[in-house]
């Protein structure tokens, strides 16, 4: 069963990080050696780890899980973000397609304080936490990622949603001139997602502005994205420019594209299979792949109901048939 990381767990977390850094270095050394570059290893490491560290204190969240973290290198180079390219490696390569400055977020719909806000003003009041969540993709792989950010509900409450706000909808930046992926027809653009308001207000739902203690990179959804750990990863919409409170259930991108395969809720559920593949198990990607062969011989693990958050979120769906509302 899933264990909570409480404050006293700090020491172990440091160990985890050290091990991760160690492994990352080791894989770099191997790669560098393969390329005959052993003379410049130090340079290689610092370059690949270059990210902008987050400013200010980071509070460790009690919601974190106690599992081996995925290497940063893995979590930032194996991405589904079709706006930046269709293959998993494309978003990291095409980072510069996403221009995050200036960034504004428009808030409208059923609330008393709508408006258009600069990113700074959106983020200013919120203390940044570290939450280590498992990220379960609908494609049956998962990663364990230390996200940095804050509870989505704390942000939404500031706009004072009214009694008609039954749902909240999110929209990704639409910029086909730069985001070349939006010129393809894989999905309808811009990408849209949504949550029921009680889901959105659940303390586990978060806005991430960083990961691994650094600013979130483009390929992971800079400058701010949604993380809903008990749902499949595609619910976690990236690069948000618009938040709308609605009375009706809003359209969501994958549901529009293939309604019989991707439901509005898309809760992680090992008992409800995707029509074309099983959701009962998942492949955990830790990141030893680069040079290490252990990733080849690691078996899949069982997928947990609500991705392991059944105790926390089960009550949101107590009277629903989850096979019907998948």
């Amino acid at each position: 069963m899933r264990k909570r990381t409480i404050y006293s767990a700090k020491i172990r977390e440091t160990e985890v990080t050290d091990k991760a850094v160690f492994r990352q270095r080791r894989s770099f050394i191997k790669q560098a050696a393969a390329l005959g570059l052993t003379g410049s290893i130090a340079g290689g490491v610092s370059q690949a780890q270059a990210g902008t560290p987050l400013q200010g204190p980071i509070i460790k969240s009690p919601y974190s899980i106690d599992e081996e973290q995925t290497l940063k290198e893995t979590a930032t180079t194996y991405n589904n973000f079709y706006e930046l390219g269709l293959n998993k490696g494309d978003p990291a390569k095409n980072q510069n397609w996403l221009k995050t400055e200036p960034w504004t977020v428009q808030v409208d719909g059923e609330c008393s304080k709508p408006g258009t806000f600069n990113l700074e003003d959106i983020l200013k009041p919120h203390a940044i936490e570290e939450r280590i969540y498992r990220h379960r993709c609908v494609e049956a792989w998962s990663m364990v990622v230390p996200w940095n950010g804050f509870a989505l509900g704390d942000l939404l409450k500031r706009f004072e949603p009214n009694g008609n706000a039954k749902y909240v909808a999110f929209t990704t930046l639409y910029d086909p001139d730069r985001l070349e992926g939006q010129r393809s027809r894989v999905l309808e653009w811009p990408y849209v997602e949504g949550l029921r308001i009680d889901e959105a207000m659940h303390p586990l739902a978060m806005i991430a502005t960083g990961m691994y203690g650094e600013e979130i990179p483009a390929q992971n959804g800079a400058p701010m994205r949604l993380i809903v750990p008990w749902k499949y990863g595609f619910k976690g919409i990236k690069s948000i420019v618009k938040i709308t409170f609605t009375e009706e259930q809003p359209p969501t991108s994958w549901n529009l594209s293939a309604p019989h395969e991707y439901g509005f809720f898309s809760n992680v559920n090992p008992q409800v299979n995707h029509p074309r593949w099983s959701q009962a198990r998942e492949r955990k990607l830790t990141g030893e792949a680069a040079g290490g062969l252990s990733a080849l011989f690691t078996a899949k693990v069982d997928t947990l109901m609500f991705n392991g958050y059944a105790d926390e979120v089960g009550s949101l769906y107590s009277d629903m048939d989850l096979a019907k509302y998948f």
């Binding site: 393969a34 894989v186 099983s278 792949a289 990733a295 080849l296």
Partner: protein, 193 residues
Amino acid sequence: MKPGWWIKPAVFTASLIPLCAVIWSVVNGTAGPNPIEAIEKQTGEWSLRFVLLSLAMTPMAQLFKSIWPIKLRRMVGLFAFFYVVVHLLAYVVLDQSMNLTYIFEDILKRPFITAGFVAFLIMVPLTVTSNKYMMNKLGKRWKVLHRTAYLVGVAGVLHYVWLAKGDQLEPLVYLAVLLVLLGYRMTGLIKGR
């Protein structure tokens, strides 16, 4: 030495390059953090390419008025089988950790796996009967049997179309190639070639 003596060994060697590339990408890390998926995809795609290439050999011989495609046809077909065996091994040993329950469930319940499995099953007798001895022994029936290679193409393409998420372009390219080959074959049959 006979003219063209080098063609067969050259094609043989070239056909092994994708395998080396797959192994190399896993060892040096460029296969990415999910090397099992990378191996499955690469070997699957190469198998399908060899299937389609083997189907293209007869038309090529006719178009270029050359005997060489016919001489190479068997080798190309055998490489299609070789890559699918690696593909299947990757799936059984690495992806499913040899758990037969999961494997049979997949074969029965997931249409895309069912299609791949059907394609594989058809390839087995084609491989077994690909030698001169079986060719002589089966006589006319050999030709009929080996026309089922088109079914391998159909099932293989279906397998790919059904598993693709979102981007359907690549599998549809394979489908288009298959349709062209089928169309050529059909008109040939009608004309009595």
